[in-house]
């Protein structure tokens, strides 16, 4: 148990550093899509909610979990859709590609 926690902390720290380095390179041009994309990725919390509902341990957990699935899925679907829509609009100057 103790070791597991420590591993989790290592994972968190390393992911934080990777995130910092990767995101630092994102051009300010794309900061709005960046935010909507990280939001969509954050919706991975849905896996926690799915397990909670699927295990069906109590009525409370099923009710709360189902609402959580709705919220996270809304973010997931909406987040990817709008990020893609935004990125589609960014084009360089020069002749338009067909």
């Amino acid at each position: 148990m103790k070791l597991d926690l420590l591993t989790s902390l290592y994972v968190f720290m390393l992911a934080g550093f990777i995130g910092f380095e990767v995101i630092r390179r994102v051009s300010p041009l794309l900061h709005t899509p960046l935010m909507s994309l990280t939001n969509a990725l954050d919706a991975i919390a849905v896996v926690g909610a799915i397990l909670l509902v699927g295990e069906h341990k109590s009525t409370l957990s099923t009710v709360l979990g189902t609402i959580a699935i709705v919220a996270a899925t809304g973010n997931l679907v909406g987040g990817f859709l709008i990020t893609d829509r935004m990125l589609k609009m960014f084009r360089a100057s020069g002749p338009k590609k067909p």
Binding site: L37, D42, V53, G65, L87, S93
Partner: protein, 461 residues
């Protein structure tokens, strides 16, 4: 022999790699859309893998949740580009809601035998989640103008807010020691819900870019905390990436306003307004008609357009594109100078201008464009105010002194499209307007730019 358990773990591993690649590909507009694909694929794998889990005994409510979420998500993905800031705030709220509810359910399932570390991260998850939930809803309400945008401040506000948060943390600490006392748990959820509302009340529209980024960071951190509770590396990593992203953006935004985090959250900009407004006095300004302005623009070689929130409010971005086309056709070099905090969220102006089909290589950020202003014939300011205020550079008594600005006053001629002489969101008078080289173009951004386009077209025929 590979069992289901291993397959699930492998989908999570692949999903994690795809998430990191997704953000990496976002570094350039040419690869950015691959990033979205990678993210979608990762998500599909992770969700698909999870559904295989043998602990799942009932799929009915999962299916209902997924379907309802999709029904809500599609319209959220199709909002107008001008509504993106409030949509983003709303999605922070959704993410935080999910995390809070799962955390709450996990607590009641595990209590009274919750190990101390588990209880500590669970409290963090729930506290961050619930304050982000209501805080983001408030921010979305302000951005959608359902709630008043102006900051509401009262005496002792910070003390009240911070004491509330301290009480919530205190109760959580008590639960870490005595997890069996489940009757206290609602306070750990409820108090931060109230705190979230109170936290956003004193924040004005101009501070929204920082606040949205900060809420983004909180949403990510609460998801990472949820990862600790559920022992899910995937969730820890996704949360850490989101938290890092929000953190970097918040730092960028506060730097661009020359303010610290705590100043944005706890500094009452509202009190400084009074001092700024008092300085205002009647000074002569030069104004010009669309005809005169169009003639100057047509004669220019180099024009830099500086858009601000006013352009978004007036929905003028498509007219601005027409102006860009008309000038480019005449051989004028047109670029856009974009301040990091222009608009209501990071990158807001870029998205609006890209929507209007302006090539992204013409959209330059502050550091790239500032060296160009001395060689610029006309700087055309559309609906931006404080980010062009030279007082930030040379008036130590100004509340925005030290804030990095776009040096439009170094251009040969400055044109400012503005509805009236009223000061901007920060309520600070802008000496730019009284310079000899400044021409004020009074009117609504959309109709004035439209008039400029007509004049330019007329002059050509």
């Amino acid at each position: 022999m590979i069992g289901t358990e291993q397959i699930i773990e492998i989908t999570y591993l692949v999903a994690t790699a795809l998430f990191i690649l997704s953000l990496k590909w976002l570094s350039s507009p040419s690869t950015a859309r691959h990033g979205v694909r990678a993210g979608e694929l990762g998500m599909l794998l992770a969700v698909g893998g999870t559904l295989l889990h043998h602990d799942i005994v009932d799929y009915k409510w999962i299916a209902i949740g997924l379907v309802l979420g999709t029904i809500i998500g599609v319209p959220l993905g199709k909002v107008q580009m001008t509504a993106v800031p409030q949509r983003t705030a709303l999605s922070h709220a959704f993410g935080a809601l999910c995390v809070t509810l799962v955390g709450t359910a996990e607590f009641y399932l595990r209590a009274p035998d919750v190990p101390r570390f588990m209880m500590a991260v669970l409290s963090m998850e729930v506290i961050l989640g619930s304050l982000t939930f209501t805080g983001s809803l408030m921010a979305a309400g302000k951005l959608q103008e359902i709630l008043p945008q102006r900051p509401i401040t009262y005496r002792g506000q910070n003390i009240v807010n911070l004491s509330l948060l301290a009480i919530a943390v205190g109760v959580a600490a008590y639960l870490v020691l005595h997890p069996g006392q489940t009757q206290y748990f609602p306070a750990v959820v409820g108090i931060p819900l109230v705190f979230g509302v109170l936290m956003i009340i004193p924040i004005g529209g101009a501070d929204m870019p920082t606040v949205i980024s900060l809420l983004n960071s909180y949403a990510g951190l609460s998801a990472a905390a949820m990862g600790f509770v559920l022992d899910s590396k995937l969730l820890i990593i996704a949360g850490a990436l989101d938290g890092a992203s929000g953190f970097i953006l918040s730092v960028n935004m506060s730097k661009a306003m020359n303010r610290s985090f705590s100043n944005v959250l706890f500094g009452a900009f509202g009190q400084e307004q009074a001092a700024g407004a008092a300085v205002q006095q009647a000074q002569p300004v030069r104004s010009a008609t669309a005809e005169e302005a169009a003639a100057i623009l047509a004669a220019a070689n180099k024009v830099v357009i500086v858009p601000g929130y006013g352009m978004a409010v007036a929905q003028a971005q498509h007219k601005v594109r027409e102006l860009y086309d008309a000038l480019t056709k005449r051989g004028v070099d047109v670029k856009f100078g974009i301040h990091p905090v222009a608009g209501r969220m990071p990158g807001h102006m870029n998205v609006l201008l890209a929507e209007a089909d302006i090539p992204y290589d013409k959209l330059l950020d502050m550091e790239e464009i500032n060296g160009d202003f001395p060689q610029t014939d006309v700087a055309l300011v559309i609906g931006a105010n404080d980010v062009t205020n030279p007082a930030a550079r040379n008036d130590a008594s100004s509340p925005i002194y030290g804030m990095p600005i776009l040096d439009v006053d170094k251009a040969r001629t400055v044109m400012v499209i503005k509805r009236s002489m009223s000061p901007g969101f920060a309520g600070i008078d802008n000496p730019l307007y009284y310079l000899d080289k400044t021409l004020m173009l009074f009117g609504d951004a959309k109709s004035f730019v439209g008039a400029l386009v007509r004049e330019l077209a007329g002059g050509q025929s």
